[in-house]
Symmetry: C2
């Protein structure tokens, strides 16, 4: 297969550098964009990214730049690999430079990433015929020890991608599969959006571990953090997500079943399951409250799920309690800044109208 698909990675963090390096090692032409001069200069100096771990080699880049126009020009796929809280700003940055036919994949999109991105492009007057898409998670477990170096610890066996509108998903998935055959086409963007399990496994356990976070104890996020009561709560929180998935007619696995399939751990409760999962050994609990587990996963995970619940009449009381508790503990107004229906420009839509919108792109 010709490796002619041109990739631009937006975001030079752990995931962005891993993807840029890996795609280049595969033989694709790759550009990388980041806002940080230091990151870009380090990569430019060595001409690419050193990758180690599950993938090994040096991936030369066509360009590493802080200039979005140069980065995006000529790309077939613009892959945004950044905290979801940055998507709005990235959409604004990209709006003037995107061209007809380009694909923008939010990798991952958290919840309602494509819907937000589309709304910003429209508001910015972007007239390019762009296909938006999002994944349900990041394909790697990875880290970048320093600019220009990526350590790919593991590569996931599956990754769901879906386009906005859904009729473009097959085209996006086929291009994406050139690099990652494990990509699966989702029904529509609500599938990866509601598949955002971070919203379930991050904020609630983090908040309920507040005292451990602020203690002198080192702790293991999953082994110590998902105690029996916390695990039972998280399972019920997840059942609210499942109810949303049912209401929007997308297939998703409850987190407990997903653990069984993904990790082969079959225990009756979430607490026992994560504690029996050797893959979670050594995952340290955070030592400050204001991490992405709260600052990102509430406004771009729980908030849009709660709002989708309002739209379709599904109660999400546990999600609301956690989102509000998070607001109070870190003193942020996530319902002002986050992905509410109002902020997504969807406040007047019915459930049916939204389901038509994600399929066709028309409203």
């Amino acid at each position: 297969m010709d490796k002619t698909t041109k990739w631009t990675i937006v975001g030079g963090g752990n995931g962005g550098q891993s993807l840029a390096g890996h795609l280049s090692i595969m033989g694709f032409p790759v550009k990388l964009y980041d806002i940080f001069e230091d990151t870009i200069n380090a990569i430019t100096e060595q001409g690419g990214i050193h990758v180690e771990g599950a993938v090994q080699g040096f991936g030369p880049l066509e360009l590493a730049t802080t200039d979005i126009a140069q980065a995006v020009q000529g790309a077939d796929i613009v892959m945004v690999v950044a905290p979801a809280t940055a998507h709005r700003a990235i959409a604004k940055t990209c709006a003037p430079v995107l061209a007809d036919g380009q694909i923008v994949i939010l990798h991952p999109g958290a919840t309602c990433g494509s819907l937000e991105f589309k709304q910003v492009l429209t508001a910015q007057g972007c007239s390019a015929k762009v296909t938006l898409a999002e994944t349900n998670t990041l394909i790697y477990a990875c880290r970048s020890p320093k600019p220009g170096y990526a350590n790919i610890i593991g590569i996931k066996d599956d990754l769901v991608v879906a386009s906005l509108p859904a009729k473009d998903t097959a085209r996006v998935a086929n291009l994406f599969k050139e690099a990652f055959p494990q990509v699966i086409a989702g029904k529509n963007v609500l599938q990866p959006s509601l598949g955002n399990a971070n919203a379930i496994v991050h904020p609630a356990p983090s908040l309920l571990n507040t005292s451990l976070i602020e203690s002198e104890h080192q702790w293991s996020y999953y082994y110590d953090g998902i105690t029996p009561s916390i695990g039972a709560f998280v399972e019920k929180l997840d059942s609210e997500r499942m109810a949303l998935a049912d209401a929007f007619e997308v297939d998703l696995l409850p987190i407990l079943k997903w653990y069984k399939i993904a990790y082969g751990v079959d225990r009756p409760t979430l607490s026992e399951t994560v504690r029996a999962n050797p893959a979670y050994d050594g995952i340290a609990g955070q030592k400050e409250l204001k991490t992405r587990y709260i600052m990102e996963d509430i406004p771009t995970g729980l908030v849009p799920m709660i709002e989708l619940g309002k739209l379709c009449g599904i109660p999400t009381p546990r999600m609301e309690v956690i989102a509000r508790l998070g607001e109070y503990l870190v003193e942020e107004d996530f319902f002002a800044t986050g992905r509410t229906l109002k902020n997504l420009g969807l406040e007047d839509m019915s459930r049916t109208e939204l389901m038509i919108f994600v399929e066709t792109g028309d409203r």
Copy 2:
């Protein structure tokens, strides 16, 4: 002063035995009621209660019994010293045996204890002209190592009592002062009810320490449990209580100021204050989630405060978040079982009507 006032203590736990022994040592005639045969038998066998600590001696009792009629007969003051979640059942037990002129003091009443007690007496058809009253806290720090023995660790310098109706408070306070001169007459029962600081300092820190509670770590409730973020949250939770006090026109100190006065500890934040308070040394954190800090202080503390907020239009979002989180973590329906306006028979009252009711007893 003649020690002729006849006391009956309802409840043979830590506080009840301490009070019964102490009052007897002071020279008052005292009876004690409890539902547990073993407790009553042990006390009957030795004829009274051995008290040590801040008070020392043997307090002989006129009677220790599981028969409520015998216990209450002839009493001037029936002092209920029991978990607030038992008040409803105790009211039902007492309703047929109370006589004109008797005083029932809920010590403490938690929040809306007298209002609940009165409603149960009325519902049970109790026609005796009884004066109800409640205190804001228990006058002791104490424990009972075994039936018949009480250890009074400390005696508080002040205790607020108020009657329902408030016009009877002076009479109640004067009798109460015969034993405890530090008793202060409150404006009306809303003062001790909203003075229930347990609702502020127990459920929220307990829930936010869930992982420590279910860990193998021993922890100190105040020193480890009130971390900076948890302390800041509790201060804001307390400001909701202060807003309720303002709305019902009762004087209360914010918890931070109260700590300064009660313990002489003057630090800018609650977290620093409790950590600098030597009186909190050695107060261990609980090792199970279902303790009175949640099972009692939510349904008889936060729930009625939230409901009083609804009645007077004061928002209590942090109280609601904690009450709901507690419900979900221990899987109880505290808004079904707790002191809601509906369960208190107050659902049709306005703020003004309630304020008249607590003053006059008329509605």
